[in-house]
């Protein structure tokens, strides 16, 4: 692990080692309390889970090429799609942006030495790894076949698979989220540098503040719910199973009470990244800063009141459904406000087409489609036809992959020089972003049509409707391109650690405290505690026209040599 960043002493800074050079032993990483090193630990671990989840996804797409399956039994297929969902949601999407980029950036952005509770931060990583290992051991000892939603009474009474281990894994990982959430809330409240007022905070920090509130309020509910499934499964105490006197729909209420807000846990941090990228690469202040802030907070609040839109056909009462549908339209508005504000940010800007911004543009395209197709599902009567079909699958992949992963990759590229001290190949970066965008659409656009045609989700075989095959083939072809789009960055980013150009303190010409310190930062972040005197994103597009861009003249692509 000590090879990360290939540390060499930066002559400009003199003798002081940066955070990567500050200790090379395994213990110096595994027992670190430095938020930046913990971020690197998270980066490596979420990447491993992303790879595993992606592997499961490619197996799913391969299997669906024919109506009668290719190589799996239905039992195996059910375990694979469950593994894909559980890994991607609990062990990748939820922690990805907050735990990697958030951990690294929040103290830097607000001018702090570290998070408020560094030990708790490290502990959260151990809980994450513990939960992850429990989840993995469930998969290795036979897998689980309930779907990531664990619907009762299937999960509590009928499934013959590793339900308990998986539930325990998600339960333990939940603590990791809660710890991180608490840490962020306290840090943002108490550790802002002098002059860093609430409305000078970067929007990235605001989005994490909103996310943390959801995490702290929501995660305990799902944790308890999953435990109750365990209680019913092991001790046969009737909670959800009608055979034991329980109510199966109660589980759905409790589950979605968390799992709908969890969607916002996944997307809000990505929105924070996108705000930073639009400002930097347009060299403009984010348009309507206050509206974007309040949109984040509105999403956090309203997000808790719409869970019933997952349950329109569940026998939930009609009047309940009406209220949930109505509120779901309201929660769509803040997201729309954000998109319009980002677009307006570009007006009269000085725009640079560098890798992170290409991801940001991709985010806009995909998130807009993802958001708008959500309206079909918030609408009760179209929901009846579309729910539990591939339409839903396509919709949430547009939001989760098109939104969260594009945001994560955009952010990772943007702050990569800060985190590692190395530049990557802008050429390969842009290429990968575009392949991802095209591959993504090819994968998931056909699934909207499949869903409208009536293809139910979680189907191993579609032998009753073989006419669906053409769309499945297109989708699988797209998945191959998408996989390539994800693999290319893995290659050139890794290579950049060894032969990437050394990054300056501020290679993108960005504003924000994190760019005022060297790359990679010192362990103590700031040599002098910073004092903030200006609003966030104090860009001047006219001046920016005169700037020399460091990366404009990209050298020979590093990855090309590999």
């Amino acid at each position: 692990m000590s090879s990360v960043g290939n540390p060499t002493v930066n002559p400009e800074v003199g003798a002081k080692p940066n955070y990567l050079q500050n200790g090379h032993t395994v213990a110096s990483w595994l027992l670190t309390k430095d938020h930046k090193r913990i971020a690197i630990l998270y980066l490596i671990s979420v990447s491993v889970f992303f790879l595993l989840g992606g592997l499961a996804a490619s197996m799913i797409r391969m299997e669906l090429v024919t109506p009668t399956g290719l190589m799996m039994t239905s039992d195996f297929y059910n375990r694979i799609f469950t593994a894909h969902g559980v890994i991607m949601i609990f062990f990748f999407l939820i922690p990805a942006i907050p735990a990697v980029l958030g951990n690294f950036l929040i103290p830097l952005m607000i001018g702090a030495r570290d998070l408020a509770f560094p030990r708790l931060n490290l502990l959260s990583w151990y809980f994450y790894i513990g939960g992850g290992l429990l989840g993995l051991s469930a998969i290795l000892t036979g897998g689980v076949d309930t779907g990531w939603t664990f619907y009762t009474p299937y999960s509590s009474m009928y499934s013959n698979s590793q339900v308990m281990l998986t539930i325990l894994g998600a339960f333990v990982a939940g603590f990791s989220s809660i710890f991180t959430g608490i840490n962020f809330i306290v840090t943002i409240h108490k550790m802002r540098a002098p002059g860093m007022t609430w409305f000078r905070l970067p929007l990235y920090v605001w989005s994490h503040y909103a996310t943390s509130i959801i995490i702290v309020l929501g995660t305990p509910v799902v944790a308890i719910t999953l435990l109750l499934v365990g209680v019913e499964r092991v001790f046969h105490i009737g909670i959800f199973s009608p055979e034991l006197g329980g109510d199966p729909v109660l589980f759905q209420h409790l589950f979605w009470f968390y799992s709908h807000p969890a969607v916002y846990i996944m997307i809000l941090p990505a929105m924070g990244v996108i705000s930073e990228l639009f400002a930097c690469f347009s060299r403009k202040r984010v348009f309507g800063y206050h509206f974007v802030v309040f949109s984040s907070m509105a999403i956090a609040g309203l997000g808790f009141l719409v869970w019933g839109h997952h349950m329109f056909v569940s026998t939930q009462s009609m009047y309940q459904g009406l209220i949930f549908s109505f509120l779901s339209y309201l929660v769509a508005i803040p997201s729309a406000i954000k998109v319009f504000n980002w677009t307006a940010t570009m007006f009269r800007g000085s725009i640079r087409f560098q890798t992170p911004f290409i991801y940001a543009l991709g985010f806009i395209g995909l998130f807009v489609v993802g958001g708008l197709t959500g309206l079909y599902l918030a609408s009760m009567s179209t929901n009846v036809h579309l729910t539990d079909t591939y339409f839903v699958v396509a919709h949430f992949h547009y939001v989760m992959v098109g939104g969260t992963i594009m945001g994560f990759l955009g952010g990772l590229h943007f702050w990569w020089p800060k985190m590692t001290g190395r530049m990557f190949s802008d050429y390969w970066g842009k290429l990968a972003a575009m392949i991802t965008f095209v591959g993504f659409n090819l994968t998931f656009l056909p699934q909207f049509i499949l869903g409208y045609l009536g293809m139910p989700r979680r189907y191993h075989l579609y032998k009753f409707a073989p006419e669906f095959q053409i769309w499945h083939i297109l989708s699988s072809a797209g998945a191959a391109a998408l996989a390539l789009g994800f693999l290319i960055p893995a290659v050139y980013l890794t290579l950049s650690l060894f032969n990437g150009k050394k990054a300056s303190a501020n290679p993108w010409g960005a504003k924000g405290l994190e760019w005022t310190i060297q790359s990679p930062p010192l362990t103590e972040n700031f040599e002098e505690p910073p004092i903030v005197t200006e609003p966030a994103y104090n860009y001047d597009p006219e001046e920016a026209e005169l700037e020399e861009d460091e990366e404009a003249e990209s050298e020979e692509p590093v990855g090309a040599r590999a």
Binding site: M318, A336, T343, A378, H460, E467, D549
Partner: protein, 328 residues
Amino acid sequence: MKIPFVPERASNFAPEMDALFYTLTALTVIFTVLVGALVLFFAIRYRKGSKAKRSGAVDSHLGLELTWTIIPLILGLFIFWWSAKLFIKTRQPPKDAMEIFVIGKQWMWHVQHANGVRENNEMHVPVGVPVRLTMISQDVIHSFFVPQFRIKQDVLPGRYSQQWFITTKPGKYNLFCAEYCGTEHSAMGGYVYALPKKEFDQWLASGGSKKQPPVSMIEAGQRLFEQNACGNCHGALDTPKGPSLVGLFGKRRTMRDGTEVDVDDSYLRESILNPYAKIVKGYLDTMPEYKKQLSEEQVLFLNAYIKSLGATQAPSPRTVMANTGNNK
């Protein structure tokens, strides 16, 4: 090879549902193109080095913010209103709807017609006649989904759920289970056959596809009633041993704890399987539980028989729906 884009429209709900679907699609395309075009236009016009004007841009503009808050809000509320109206319609079956019973179990659909004709993984329905499905699961949650009818309803263990529709053209349509239910989830399906009314009546009268002389549900229920000696306590008149079941269906009863309950299918089912859940005022806990002894199918038979014992007045479908849980 024909590439499918649109599922057939074969029910009374399909045309309006599709109109809503295409309106939403139009909105999606318009907004995606609008945002995409603006982003591309700005990206090209304001790329670094272009001669475009850059001075004087504002950071914030209340008018603009209100515009792009209020317009989507109005559009959203319009869609909500339209969609809700249609949804309410899908929850209110006409009084004269023909009733078909559906039992979901791992991994098949069992269909039961009132005259006793039974089908597995197939369902025959008449064209142009309102059909009401009363459904229950014997194990986990399933979901009854016919894409060409644009209907879907979860089928739960332990409680009845309902769905209604009118088929508008003869044909063979997909029947899927849409709620993940275990190993053979994707094999839990079959077809719905919509027959012209005359043909359907003939089909039904001649004992369905298997041509077996059917025993009607009421008759089957009566046999069960006798086999289990229910009549020992439930006679023609109320006795201290048990209330009479004659004319019971559709009435409102007062329970021991003072709550009032409408007697519908769900209540009858519960009182047979788990009688102590609700006890009518003035009676003791003397009835045996039939929880482990009767299948969901047998309960449907018993219900049919009890309902045939002179329902004083047919309960309005709204009341029945309300008490099955999905129309409150």
